[in-house]
């Protein structure tokens, strides 16, 4: 069975799978809209969570929550299932795909056959959508939002990536699908404005004694980075910096990318609500995204040991500057958004 599924490449895997799935059910919701509605923008620097021996820095909310948040908001009925038995996990996918239902799967990157060699990192949080199964050859057609076209993967490989062990966390063949689509979408303007309120809260509400999350996390990373070279030595400090850039720019966590995506979301909100001032905020978060990008470029000079590159305290002050910009941005946006909510009588 080959489902007629319109595949589109996306900036981020989970948003991408959701956007492609919703389009399959007849609803054109953009990737930035999905990201914004699920209040996905975040920051965390967690020295106590290690990935490949390095502290985890993330620029978005935790994997797996976007699908449930968005589909619930939009009135979809969905189901998620995990398995202990690998054969049962495969049989369930076959059953759904044969019935014409696209199935989202959480998979590990390491064993994905079509990933470039450099991307074979033990990261178990990638999302793909299974959209076809040829019973004769036992080969699956997969819509991977990081690919320009649909790809093929053997049953053996699919089973392996769904049950990759170790790494960030072991996988249990987690899969999700839509059981029932709504007749029409609810009022998106109201949902979007409410989601902005929540996102601002997540970024700025953390108490000062909890330094790892939200805007606090950016300040915290800045303070730590200033001391890296003295504390860790040249080699480890450079490595830590390279890891931050990877997490900043790579598939799955991309920091600046998510700031730009939020900018695109705010532009859509301006159109939806007729409130032009959201466009000003879109511009401001775009500037913040640009700052993250120039930080990445400066940092690359440091870990490549280029002449005349910045010192760690100088890099750290760039981070602190971004932290201040983000704090002010979300505080201002929250105030304006509250104003809109009052005027439009959104509860």
């Amino acid at each position: 069975m080959e489902i007629e599924f319109n595949h589109k490449i996306a900036a981020h895997c989970e948003n991408g799978v959701i956007a492609n799935m919703l389009r399959f059910y007849g609803f054109d919701v953009s990737e930035p809209m999905i990201f914004g509605l699920s209040y996905g923008l975040f920051f965390s620097h967690m020295p106590f969570v290690k990935l490949a021996g390095q502290a985890v820095t993330s620029f978005r909310t935790f994997p797996g929550v976007l699908f449930s948040r968005v589909t619930k908001l939009l009135g979809f009925k969905t189901e998620t299932e995990r398995f202990l038995n690998e054969e049962k996990a495969m049989a369930k996918v076959n059953k759904l795909v044969d019935a014409g239902v696209p199935v989202g799967c959480v998979v590990g990157m390491y064993y994905l056959p079509y990933m470039p060699l450099e991307y074979r990192f033990p990261f178990n949080g990638h999302n793909i959508c299974v959209v076809g199964h040829d019973t004769e050859s036992n080969v699956y057609t997969v819509s991977d939002p990081n690919c320009t076209e649909k790809v093929k993967i053997t049953a053996k490989d699919l089973q392996k990536v769904r049950f990759t062990k170790g790494g960030t966390y072991p996988l249990f063949g987690q899969m999700y699908w839509v059981k029932e689509a709504p007749k029409e979408l609810p009022d998106m303007a109201e949902l979007a404005v409410k989601a902005i309120k929540k996102n601002c809260w997540y970024m700025t509400s953390q108490p000062s004694w909890l330094p790892f999350f939200g805007v606090n996390g950016i300040d915290y990373l800045g303070r730590k980075m200033a001391l890296w070279e003295d504390k860790l030595g040249k080699r480890k400090a450079a490595l830590g910096l390279a890891q931050i850039i990877r997490m900043l720019e790579e598939i799955g966590t991309g920091g600046a990318g998510f700031r730009f995506m939020y900018g695109a979301f705010l532009q859509e909100v301006a159109k939806l609500t007729g409130e032009d001032e959201y466009k000003t905020y879109s511009k401001r978060i775009t500037e913040i995204g640009d700052k993250w990008r120039s930080f990445a470029a400066e940092a690359a000079g440091v870990f490549k040991r280029k002449q005349g590159s910045k010192s760690y305290p100088e890099l750290a002050s760039l981070i602190s500057e971004i932290g201040q910009m983000e704090r002010k941005f979300f505080t201002d946006l929250a105030a304006f958004n509250k104003n809109v909510m009052n005027r439009k009588n959104y509860k």
């Binding site: 450099e118 062990k165 170790g166 730009f260 532009q267 511009k283 690359a300």
Partner: protein, 135 residues
């Protein structure tokens, strides 16, 4: 970021269908999704991390040549795995994986076990039995 500034530096994506997508603004300030071939800054970061892993591997390779550890130890590090991950993904117990990292125990392994390790590490059984080259 403006659309014209979206980097198109093709390196790690060469030969694959994987690409990045960036949201960037056009001349009128409207956001659009743009497919990107990659960014040198990011590729450099990736290479820095991989080079560091390679340095560790070189150290292990020297030990393999002196028969202090088995080639499995080298290919495990090269494949970005540790004992826990290799054990979990191969289904071979941690205790046995640790044992097979020793030169002597590895030499006595049957073909079936070699095959399982090779598959888990995504290399051929012949490669797993080959000594790594050292600079």
């Amino acid at each position: 970021m403006n659309i014209d500034d979206v980097p198109q530096d093709l390196s790690v994506f060469r030969g694959s269908v994987v690409r990045d997508v960036a949201y960037a603004v056009d001349a009128d300030g409207n956001y659009q999704a743009v497919v990107s071939d990659g960014w040198n800054v990011k590729a450099d970061a990736l290479r820095t991390v991989l080079n560091d892993i390679d340095e560790d591997c070189m150290e292990i390779a020297r030990q393999v040549v002196k028969h202090e550890v088995s080639p499995l130890a080298y290919y495990m590090a090269k494949g970005l795995m540790d004992v826990d991950m290799l054990a979990d993904n191969s289904g071979i117990s941690k205790r046995n994986v640790k044992k097979h990292l020793e030169w002597d125990a590895f030499q006595n392994l049957d073909d079936k076990t070699i095959q399982i390790y090779a598959e888990t590490l995504r290399i051929t059984p012949e490669m797993l039995k080959t000594l790594p080259e050292i600079d």
